[in-house]
Amino acid sequence: MKQSLDHQRPIFQQIKETIEENILNDAFPEEERVPSTNEFAKMYRINPATAAKGINQLVDHGILYKKRGIGMFVCAGAKEVLLTQRKEEFYNRFIVPLKKEAQHLGITVNELKELLDKGEIK
């Protein structure tokens, strides 16, 4: 789990992203309980209302659901939903700035493609 928060983006958003990330890498499996608002609050020393805001957004998006009196659970199929979402985001978050920076440095699209082939994922 992420150990600390930065101050660049709203805290609730970072809580939301932390949970998403954990669902994607199976740290929070589907149909399993995730930490409560207060557990998040204590872990990151943040106001419980802020943590709740992040969690509630995930409930609204159908990623988490609430079992009354027990806690928050990961919805079935949540990982799939998140993966699709992430793929959509990928273009905006990485491809657009990549092309922008390439343009800035005078790298052509073809050169960029070559670089992509060269870069290996270990």
């Binding site: 805290i11 020393r45 106001n47």
Partner: protein, 289 residues
């Protein structure tokens, strides 16, 4: 219990310490009261806690004036940065006396916290180190379980690890027994995420009250070539500026920080720490509109 103030003024002799303060604090939130030394934070807290009377204006805690009002006083606990407890008393006497004052006092919490901070109940207050005295203040504040618990810089002499523990214990208590916490602090960065709302005071005036989240969204720092920044900042509310060589950094307040022109620009855009926001807003440049 809500806290409400209407045009509150406090003077000591000819010196006006608080000027026309009006505010509403809802119950069961964690508030951060920020400002420079001498801004009037301590005086405001003493008035809210009913320790001193107002000069003019009105303060209502749960719809009643707190000054000399027993039913309000037993539900408010204010812990100052030092000198809370009589020096000749033993720690256990302090706890005993506090338990008699506060009807919702938790013996169990007090014992747990005494262990947590490793305090010896047979020690006299005057024999405690600064850090231990602060710890005793924290123990009394948290164990009092008053609907309004106010900490005025309660961390003198506590090291970083103990302060971190204090914030955790405060969250524990807040979770189990939700209540209003008001925390005044100079170590803003380490607690700012704890606050639901932030109040900033300057020279006896309350210049800002907002949720911590909003506050961060209202403020942004923009860095770029000097000439371009100077063009960009026209007509905007700049609360801080700094020129470094050909580069200029400005901090904008109350501007749309997600504006496309900003996102798409080649400027380096950054969020601003709450601590810095406080410093910029309370610098001598006329304050905020």
């Amino acid at each position: 219990m809500n806290i409400e103030a209407q045009l509150l003024n406090k003077c000591y002799g000819s010196k006006q310490v608080l000027k026309d303060i009006s505010l509403t604090l809802a119950q069961n939130k964690i508030y951060g009261l920020l400002g420079r030394n001498g801004a009037g934070k301590t005086t405001l807290m003493q008035i809210v806690a009913g320790h001193i009377p107002v000069t003019t204006g009105e303060v209502k805690v749960g719809n009643q004036s707190p000054f000399e009002n027993r039913s309000v006083l037993q539900n408010i606990c204010l812990i100052n940065e030092s000198g809370n407890f009589k020096k000749t008393l033993k720690v256990k006497d302090v706890l005993k006396i506090a338990s008699l004052f506060y009807p919702y006092w938790s013996e169990e919490a007090a014992e747990r916290l005494m262990e947590e901070f490793d305090l010896d109940c047979n020690m006299k207050v005057k024999a405690l180190s600064k850090g231990m005295e602060s710890a005793l203040g924290i123990i009394v504040g948290l164990s009092s379980r008053t609907s309004i618990t106010i900490f005025d810089e309660p961390y003198i002499g506590l090291d970083a690890a103990m302060r971190a523990r204090f914030y955790e214990l405060l969250l524990d208590e807040y979770e189990e027994y939700p209540r209003t916490f008001i925390i005044s602090t100079h170590l803003i960065d380490e607690v700012s995420n704890l606050f639901e709302e932030v109040l900033i005071m300057q020279k006896g005036k309350l210049i800002l009250q907002d949720t911590a989240e909003n506050l961060q969204q209202r403020c942004v720092s923009v860095k770029g070539p000097k000439s371009q920044i100077e063009e960009y900042e026209k007509g905007k509310q700049v609360i801080h500026e700094q020129v470094f060589g050909g580069e200029k950094k400005i901090v904008l307040f109350n501007e749309d920080i997600y504006a496309e022109e900003l996102v798409d620009s080649s400027f380096h855009v950054e969020a601003v720490h709450v601590q810095d926001i406080m410093i910029y807003l309370t610098a001598n440049r006329g304050g905020v509109a």
